[in-house]
């Protein structure tokens, strides 16, 4: 056991060492230093896009999911969800391109495209999460004299929270991953370094955009994972 652990440690040292050699050989450190101001500026832009569109998607997506799960919507909910599901199959690049044709170029179409792309998983998970709350919990709550509002807030939403949160996590992962495309319609972000790097065949510039994008995606997912672990009450959190 200790033997293999020691070996693993040595192996990872070598790996890091090799990576270091490769990084300095490719001139990555130099290009990152060169584009540092751009990276900071574009990362900010990137984050503004992710946060604003993600936040808007949560703000709209959760209530829409709740609305669809209400008994009065039962007849139409499945049809509407089908429309949403078909919407999910449209590639996000196409969504962004389509929103440009309507909203022109710049921040608004990028915001809108990202918003639409992240809306779907949130609505779907909110709807599905609420539907899977066992009927007997709702019956018990009704029988105890809770109003519909109270049942929604105190029983249904808390018990669907884990599934809803998973939807938000997926949505944000898609969002962060898609945001580089915003550059194509003048929305800015780290895509600017990536696409320009590709066009100029400048690997250093490309990596200066790609590595922060990747790091951002990993960081966002990590944060969401931690939030899911810590924010959801123990009784309904399978992770705890």
């Amino acid at each position: 056991m200790t033997q293999s652990l020691g070996l693993g440690r040595i192996a990872s040292f070598f790996l890091v060492f090799a990576l270091g050699i490769w990084v300095s050989a490719s001139g990555l450190t130099e290009s990152i230093a060169m584009y540092w101001d751009d990276i900071v500026y574009l990362t900010k832009q990137h984050l503004v896009l992710v946060c604003s569109s993600g936040f808007a998607a949560i703000l709209i997506g959760v209530p829409v999911g709740v609305l669809l799960s209400r008994p009065s919507m039962e007849k139409y909910a499945e049809t509407i969800m089908q429309v949403f599901n078909v919407g999910t199959t449209i590639p996000t690049l196409a969504v962004i391109a389509l929103s440009m044709t309507i909203l022109g170029i710049g921040f608004p179409p990028a915001f809108f495209g990202l918003f639409v792309a992240s809306l779907l998983p949130i609505v779907r998970n909110t709807y599905a999460g609420l539907l899977t709350v066992p009927a007997h919990l709702k019956e018990a709550a009704t029988g105890m004299g809770m109003t519909r509002q109270q049942i929604l807030w105190r029983v249904e939403l808390p018990n669907a929270l884990y599934v809803i949160f998973s939807g938000i996590r997926t949505a944000l992962a898609i969002n962060v991953g898609t945001t580089p495309l915003a550059f194509l319609i003048g929305g800015g972000g780290l895509g600017e370094l990536i696409f320009t790097g590709i066009d100029l065949m400048d690997t250093g510039m490309l990596l200066a955009g790609a590595i922060p994008t990747a790091a951002l995606a990993v960081a966002v997912d990590f944060l969401m994972g931690q939030a899911q672990l810590r924010l959801i009450p123990k009784g309904v959190n399978p992770l705890r």
């Binding site: 066992p134 709550a141 029988g143 105890m144 004299g145 809770m146 808390p158 018990n159 009784g235």
Partner: protein
């Protein structure tokens, strides 16, 4: 008190109307448990759920404590009725304490008062408050969860409780224990309870009255003993089973049947004196007791004929004794197990309390058959 008057429920479905409850009339007196019993689809659950309006009645009236409930709104009505379901329905997102406090909080109780009440109730069902209040439902066993389910319904001290197969999902051993606990609690709390069950044994054990349902109608509404001894029709007789007389054994305890004046003698008594005691009481045997009044053996008249000395030398060992508080089913089972016609009974401290014999048991069972079936029927029936 709960009174149902002509309570009717008709479900309108595309394939025609289904009558789930057909002019149900019944009254559950204050402080009694009434079991709604019947095969599945007989309308017992529908009848129950109409009381707290989880199913709105088609027509008819429901009175609770003499008050027509149609005057109350749904929310107000439900908050004043305890409700327990088979799936328990504890909210997984809330701690045990929060679960118990739900109704008190809905009724605007002060948080401190609600919490004190929760701790009090947990103690009542033998769960350590300090240990369990802050736990989540998934951290409790099924039996513990069901206990919490029951006390949650009791939290705001409602006069009326509705229980929909509350112990149906618990294993048989734990079910017996929880039933006994519940009966003990009920003997102090005296709630008026409607209780749905499909298990005749549970109904006989728990019910002060049993209402047997078929196709939305009450077939018979009477005490368990009345239903077992005098089923009103073939359906009821069939439903309670061919062994219904044996089921009645559970309704009586040895205390009610045992002969407390059966002759006794002590080990040191002279055989001559013992013989006289037996002759005076016309019994064929006497129970031998020790210095602390515990039954230790028996001696028969035949054995004493022509013998002398003390009882000690002639006494036989007792095959078994039964607690006087045991029900007759347990007593008869002991008799069969030891192939004996009679058994000595003991009180809680193991002291002699009487003798119970097979003829005593059959006489007790016959007594109910002899008495004519009297009024305890469905009060609404013609």
């Amino acid at each position: 008190m709960i009174r149902l008057e002509d309570l009717t429920k008709i479900f309108r479905t595309p394939s025609g109307d289904i009558v789930a409850a057909d002019r149900v009339n019944m009254e559950v007196p204050e402080g009694e448990i009434c079991i709604l019993l019947g095969p599945s689809g007989c309308g017992k659950t529908t009848a129950l759920k109409m009381i707290n309006r989880l199913i709105p009645p088609t027509s008819g009236k429901i009175f609770i404590g003499g008050k027509d409930t149609s005057q109350l709104n749904d929310i107000e009505l439900r908050r004043n009725i305890g409700y327990v379901i088979q799936q328990i329905g504890l909210f997984p997102n809330m701690t045990i304490e929060e679960n118990i406090c739900v109704v008190p909080r809905l009724l605007q109780w002060d948080i401190k008062r609600a919490r004190t009440r929760a701790a009090e109730l947990l103690d009542l069902v033998g769960l350590d408050a300090r240990q369990y209040l802050k736990r989540y439902p998934k951290e409790l066993s099924g039996g513990q969860q069901q206990r919490v389910g029951v006390i949650r319904a009791l939290a705001a001290d409602p006069p009326v409780m509705l229980m929909d197969e509350p112990f149906g999902a618990i294993d048989p051993i734990n079910r017996e224990i929880i039933q006994d606990e519940f009966l003990k609690m009920q003997s102090e709390l005296k709630k008026t309870i409607m209780f749905v069950s499909h298990d005749i044994d549970e109904a006989v054990k728990m019910g002060d009255k049993i209402a047997i349902f078929r196709a939305g109608k009450i077939e018979q509404y009477a005490s368990p003993d009345q239903i077992l001894a005098h089923p009103e029709n073939a359906f009821v007789a069939d439903f309670v089973g061919t062994d219904r007389t044996l089921k009645r054994l559970r309704l009586l305890t040895a205390e009610e049947v045992a002969d407390r004046n059966a002759p006794i003698t002590s080990r040191s008594t002279k055989v001559d004196d013992a013989r006289q005691v037996l002759a005076a009481s016309k019994a064929r045997f006497a129970v031998v007791i020790d210095g602390e009044n515990r039954p230790v053996g028996f001696i028969t008249a035949d054995e004493m004929r022509g013998a002398s000395g003390t009882v000690r030398e002639l006494a036989n060992r007792l095959p078994a004794t039964v607690p006087i508080r045991a029900d007759l089913r347990a007593v008869v089972s002991e008799m069969f197990a030891h192939d004996t016609m009679w058994l000595a009974c003991t009180d809680d401290n193991g002291r002699y309390a009487g003798v119970i014999s097979q003829p005593d048991v059959t006489t007790a069972l016959r007594a109910t058959y002899a008495s004519a079936p009297d009024a305890a029927h469905d009060p609404g029936a013609p």
